[in-house]
């Protein structure tokens, strides 16, 4: 009996450990502001007041959400377009220094963000790019590209080379074979890469915090961390938790819907 109950106990512990803090955020968001410091596991009275506070007033949260979507979206699209070509070359074509190139690309993903930040900050100040989208997108590309090139290379390698050869025997050029055979077949892999890149760009904080000092250009993560309360000094935790729910829940829904793919993508690099 205990032997059979044991795995379930383990499951429960793991699920609780992962979900309890998140649950606390959701519950705190639905509390009335006056019950803020109440520690009951369920709100005394459910209320949307915190959510209203997020979108009203001078938080500019709607704009921040839009900024986040623009920055993360553009980063994702550009990363995919550039990364697909590179990954295709690395997976299919034979040329000298191929391993060296791949090694360099992977190694760059390990560089600390701060060592890019200082010179870029200076450069962007000189060319007056501070408070622009490109000042956030371009550095994000640098972080997103290595990861996506790696993932896409792994995905392309899994496609049988014979398919392209067959297409080329039938008269396709290499470009056509790539466009008509490889791209449709690789779509799941590309899609997985897109999700992972988008999440990484969406969660970015250091660059967005440094490259922007105008409120209208802040991304959501930065905006939330800078919310100010009515009384000025107090940190408006209820509002912040509500904003956190707004930013996080769509992400979590996407992650849960595509969890199989995301797990496959996360482990593609790490496991042989």
């Amino acid at each position: 009996m205990t032997r059979r109950a044991l795995p379930y106990l383990g499951f429960t512990v793991v699920a609780l450990y992962c979900l309890a803090p998140f649950y606390w955020m959701v519950v705190s968001a639905f509390r009335r502001p006056q019950d803020q410091f109440d520690n009951a596991p369920v709100p005394l009275q459910w209320s949307m007041e915190n959510f209203n506070a997020v979108f009203s007033g001078d938080n500019g949260f709607g704009r921040a959400l839009l900024n986040s979507i623009v920055v993360a979206g553009v980063t994702t699209v550009l990363t995919l377009v550039i990364g697909t070509f590179t990954a295709y070359a690395l997976a299919r074509l034979d040329f000298r220094f191929k391993n060296a190139v791949l090694g360099i690309i992977v190694a760059t993903s390990m560089f600390p963000g701060i060592s890019q930040l200082v010179p870029l900050l200076k450069l962007f100040t000189e060319i007056t790019w501070i408070n622009t989208y490109q000042a956030m997108v371009l550095p994000s590309l640098g972080f997103a590209l290595p990861l996506s090139v790696w993932l896409l290379t792994t995905f392309f390698r899994q496609l049988p080379f014979e398919l392209e050869q067959a297409a080329m025997v039938d008269g396709c050029t290499r470009g056509q074979a790539f466009r008509k055979i490889i791209v449709p077949l690789a779509a799941p892999g590309v899609f997985t890469t897109a999700i992972l890149t988008f999440i990484a760009a969406w969660n970015e904080f250091l660059i967005a915090l440094s490259m922007v000092n105008k409120k209208e250009m802040q991304t959501a993560t930065v905006a939330i961390s800078k919310f100010t309360g009515v009384s000025g000094f107090d940190q408006p935790f209820g509002t912040q938790m509500a904003a956190g729910v707004v930013v996080t829940v769509p992400l979590i829904v996407v992650v849960l819907v595509f969890q199989r793919r995301i797990v496959a993508g996360l482990t593609a690099g790490g496991v042989k």
Partner: protein, 304 residues
């Protein structure tokens, strides 16, 4: 040809800054008197002064504090994450109903943006927040000193141990059941089987996961910055101290800190790969035209 866009972007966004950053670290900004007694503004070449200032000047204390914080966070969080992650993976590897549910739930901490999880834990660690209510203690977590460090470690471990758990789980699922059965027939107990079979076989997956986590913690910024705040002695990391310098327009010294961190990370990555033989790019380095059957098994199936 096809590689050029990627290399261009990486060169521009990563290669250039690393070099420019190094150059920057040899300069200082501000006013000074030149040889004739005139006031000069702008950048001045100071050689290694920024570095000597880091290691031995009046700020040396702050540097060694940040250095030891960074190292402390790296060692503690990666150790805890590995233990918890392997534990999670072992639990999830049991064939039971509801496994999909648990696997979904461990993706939740991973999906929450770090800055948001910083806020979430700041809320939990409030003086009259959930953590103190649960422990029936009055600890000022977010104020300073040891509790602040502990808070950062707890929050970081919560957010990232699922990542190690997932990678290790994928490794576990590739171990054929027969190996365990054979060992069982030969009389190996559960502990022995774990140490002699499971651990050596998931070692490659685990090493890569640990390496990634280490490099990530070494450059930690968001979490301590949001959870405790910048320029707080107790949790200041190397990235934070460099960011603080940069935000005060002391680019030279900021770049020097960043370069030191860069060298530190490169050194650790090198040692890790050399000593433990973590084969990071091995998966991607294999010959282009290998038999399909081997390659297909490598990724998608294992995780499904």
């Amino acid at each position: 040809m096809l590689l050029s866009p990627t290399l261009l972007v990486l060169g521009l966004v990563i290669g250039y800054p690393v070099l420019a950053g190094f150059r920057e670290s040899l300069f200082t900004k501000g006013q000074g008197l030149d040889a004739d007694g005139f006031v000069v503004e702008g950048e001045r070449f100071v050689g290694l002064d920024n570095y000597t200032a880091i290691f031995s000047g009046e700020r040396a204390d702050a540097f060694w504090n940040a250095f030891s914080n960074t190292t402390l966070f790296t060692v503690t969080t990666v150790l805890l994450e590995t233990v918890l992650g392997v534990g999670m993976a072992l639990i999830m590897n049991q064939a039971f109903r509801g496994r999909a549910l648990v696997r979904a739930s461990i993706l939740v901490p991973w999906a929450i943006p770090t800055a948001i999880s910083g806020l979430l834990w700041r809320w939990i660690f409030q003086a009259d927040g959930a953590a103190n209510a649960l422990l029936r203690q009055q600890i000022l977590w977010t104020a300073d000193g040891f509790p602040a460090r502990l808070a950062v470690i707890i929050a970081e471990v919560w957010k990232t141990s699922p990542f190690i758990g997932l990678l290790v789980l994928a490794g576990l699922q590739m171990i054929p059941r027969e190996v365990h059965e054979a060992a069982q027939v030969d009389g190996a107990g559960p502990v022995q089987r774990f140490c002699r079979i499971t651990l050596p076989l998931v070692r490659p997956a685990l090493l890569v996961a640990v390496l990634f986590r280490m490099l990530d913690v070494l450059r930690m910024f968001d979490l301590p910055a949001v959870l405790i705040g910048v320029n707080q002695r107790s949790v200041e990391t190397l990235t934070m101290i460099s960011w603080f310098e940069a935000s005060n327009l002391r680019y030279g010294s900021a770049a020097a800190y960043a370069t030191v961190l860069f060298v530190y990370i490169a050194l650790i990555a090198y040692l890790f790969v050399k000593l433990l033989g973590a084969d990071i790019i091995g998966a991607a380095r294999q010959r282009t035209r290998r038999p399909r059957a081997v390659r297909g098994k490598r990724t998608g199936k294992a995780a499904a």
